[in-house]
């Protein structure tokens, strides 16, 4: 059934003319593309792109990494770097550093954020969090407060932020209550105007459409690598779009984001 759906969706993509340009794999990633859009601008990143030197740090827990000797190169931070290098051209230097600690809660990551600002002086921090807090049952209010103070730290350090929420994991879906934490991230992202990469929604779509089968038990790493590759590519698009949005914000007044604010 799943393979059938995958074949069908691939056929649809070919028919839509997506596949020939992007290649089958990239097309498959973008089955869930409508969920990924830069809602808010990334001004520091835009300035860095102008300077032709972009420094990004991914702060996250275990799901921002992959096991094994090849893990670091195949995990989404490295894939993001590659995607951005492709998109921005060879004359721009892009560095993506992954600072992941397997079992860190959002509150613990705030400390990492401080350290990262000192060490790397990044233009953008991609902050992946939520799963560890949900598993430990951290008070959702405290989780939300931690997100806010992390953003305060980043703002003071002149770095943009992008949130990445949880993975969709069908096997553990009934064991880990993500709901309150998903809402908290979404709420803080909206309130503080931070782009959110909805990894949970994207992966759910992939699973539903049969792009990736996420419920099979396997020791092999190939699906995991392809998932991370897709996440890296889509994050790359989100970062570039967010930076572009910052420029239209400065020059024009009729852009989507500006309109949102005026309507209040």
């Amino acid at each position: 059934m799943r393979t059938l759906i995958a074949a069908l969706s691939a056929a649809v993509l070919v028919a839509a003319g997506v596949s020939p340009i992007l290649g089958a794999e990239e097309g498959a990633c973008y089955v869930a593309g409508s969920l990924v859009h830069a809602d808010f601008a990334l001004p520091h990143t835009a300035a860095a792109i102008d300077r032709k030197h972009v420094s990004i740090v991914v702060v996250g827990s275990a799901s921002s990494s992959l096991p094994g000797a090849e893990g670091a190169a195949k995990a989404y931070p490295a894939r993001l770097q590659e995607s951005l290098m492709r998109r921005l051209g060879s004359d721009t230097s892009v560095k993506v550093v992954a600072r992941t600690k397997a079992r860190d809660t959002a509150a613990e990551m705030v400390k990492t954020l401080r350290q990262v600002l000192k060490d790397e002086k990044p233009d953008l921090v991609i902050w992946q969090t939520g799963t560890v807090d949900a598993m430990l049952g951290v008070d959702p209010d405290e989780f939300q407060t931690a997100l806010g103070s992390g953003l305060d730290v980043l703002r003071a350090g002149n770095a943009d932020a992008v949130f990445v929420n949880m993975q969709y994991s069908p096997r553990t879906d009934s064991m880990i209550s993500l709901g309150a934490y998903v809402d908290a991230i979404r709420f803080v992202a909206l309130q503080r105007e931070i782009p959110l990469f909805d990894r949970l929604g994207v992966m759910k779509d992939w699973n539903e459409m049969g792009v990736f089968d996420l419920s099979t038990a396997t020791k092999k790493i190939d699906v995991a690598e392809r998932v991370h590759d897709c996440i890296g590519r889509m994050l790359g698009r989100l970062v570039v779009d967010g930076a572009a949005l910052a420029k239209t914000n400065v020059t024009g007044s009729g852009n989507a984001d500006g309109m949102n604010k005026d309507n209040h």
Binding site: L66, P67, M135, G137, D139, A180, A217, K219, N260
Partner: protein
């Protein structure tokens, strides 16, 4: 002078509790499209409010009569016996949960999910986990309602005593506890972190309010609840809640909510039974009062029978629902998680709940015939579980 407890069972309670149990079941199956029909997607409150309110109402109805007729000690003993049953049921569900995660730990391996597998760490410390579960501090996903119910019912005897003597004072006490818990951020501690998902000090308000309604409060506020301005106010509030909920699903609509307003309104806290949720439940109740009268003829129609049956055996059916949601999710992961499968699982689960409720009714009937109890018409036999 103790107020008289109204005679004759209000079938509406069973009906709505049965429906609430179905909705809770649907909501408990993760990633279930069918749960789009449940009320939580169209307003602030959800089936939990209905369940807690009706549980308070029926508890007061059944044990209030007992307390009037046979005294405080007997009624309290029966309430505590019921609490014990709830506790045993909770531990039973916990065992099922442990079996599920132990199975997944042994059979599921995927390098993509090393992080999520952290949930299985509980298995490495069975001593701590089990003791914390027995203390009601460790409550895995979807297992938060019964512990709340256990606390509410366990502490109910003194509250019922006060309700029978001075209902207004009892309600005022309940409101005070709610306000104090809210002002000082009080809640019960949980394991391994944080606090209870349903704060008993907040949710007791709904339970006691239900009990207060059962013991004459409903008659007192009846004229107000049925008045035209209140009716239109309820409609307006439900529309408002509906529109706000839509902005959660279509984030593009969120720009129409003024920032100062969302800052005032959010978060709409489920843990502490946010006032907005409570008000939403009240608005729903006001509409229900108007459109579903007590002697509504449809209540005796065969169409309503399945939900009423489930509502009459709420503890068993609630537990079954939690169990079935585990099984349903398991089937979705193992076989298929397509929409067709989600519909099949949702329908089959509800059919199983109805069949079980019918079986329990039948069994209670033959047991009752074998050993007819004299004394007062027993609420249990009338299907009147608290």
């Amino acid at each position: 002078m103790p107020p008289a407890v109204p005679a004759g069972r209000d079938l509406r309670l069973d009906l709505f509790r049965g429906l609430a149990l179905w909705l809770i079941y649907l909501d408990h199956i993760p990633s279930n499209m069918v749960s789009w029909v449940t009320i939580r997607n169209y307003g602030f409150s959800d089936a939990t409010e209905i369940f807690v309110f009706i549980s308070g109402y029926t508890a007061a109805y059944v044990y209030g009569r007992e307390m009037n007729n046979r005294g405080v000690v007997v009624a309290s003993a029966r309430i505590l016996k019921r609490t014990w049953q709830l506790y045993v049921a909770h531990i039973f569900l916990f065992v099922i949960y442990m079996a599920e995660i132990a199975y997944v730990a042994a059979s599921f391996d995927n390098p993509l999910y090393s992080e999520e597998m952290g949930i299985l760490n509980f298995l490495q410390q069975p001593d701590v986990t089990m003791i914390q579960a027995m203390l009601l501090k460790f409550k895995p996903a979807n297992m938060d309602v019964l512990p709340l119910y256990i606390i509410l019912l366990g502490l109910f005897p003194p509250m019922l005593w006060l309700l029978l003597r001075n209902a207004t004072l009892a309600l005022a006490a309940s409101v005070s506890v709610y306000i104090v818990a809210w002002r000082f951020d009080l809640n019960f501690p949980a394991y391994p972190n944080g606090t209870w998902v349903f704060n008993p000090m907040a949710w007791q308000l709904l339970f006691v309010f239900g009990a207060w309604c059962a013991l004459g409060g409903a008659e007192r506020i009846g004229p107000l609840a049925r008045s035209r301005p209140v009716f239109w106010l309820a409609i307006a509030y439900l529309c408002f809640a509906f529109l706000i909920t839509m902005t959660w699903y279509f984030p593009r609509l969120a720009v129409y909510v003024p920032k100062w307003f969302s800052e005032w309104m959010y978060p709409i806290d489920k843990t502490n039974l946010d006032v907005l949720r409570f008000a939403h439940f009240l608005a729903l109740a006001i509409l229900t009062l108007r459109y579903v009268p007590r002697d509504w003829s449809a209540l005796s129609s065969p169409l309503m029978r399945p939900a009423i049956l489930c509502g009459q055996h709420s503890l068993e059916i609630f537990c079954l629902g939690v169990f079935l949601s585990f099984v349903g999710h398991f089937a979705m992961v193992e076989i298929s998680d397509g929409i067709a499968m989600q519909v099949v699982i949702s329908v089959l689960g509800i059919v199983a709940m109805v069949a079980t409720a019918a079986l329990i009714s039948w069994y209670k009937n033959i047991e009752g015939r074998k050993a007819p109890r004299q004394a007062t018409p027993n609420a249990d036999l009338a299907g009147g579980e608290a």
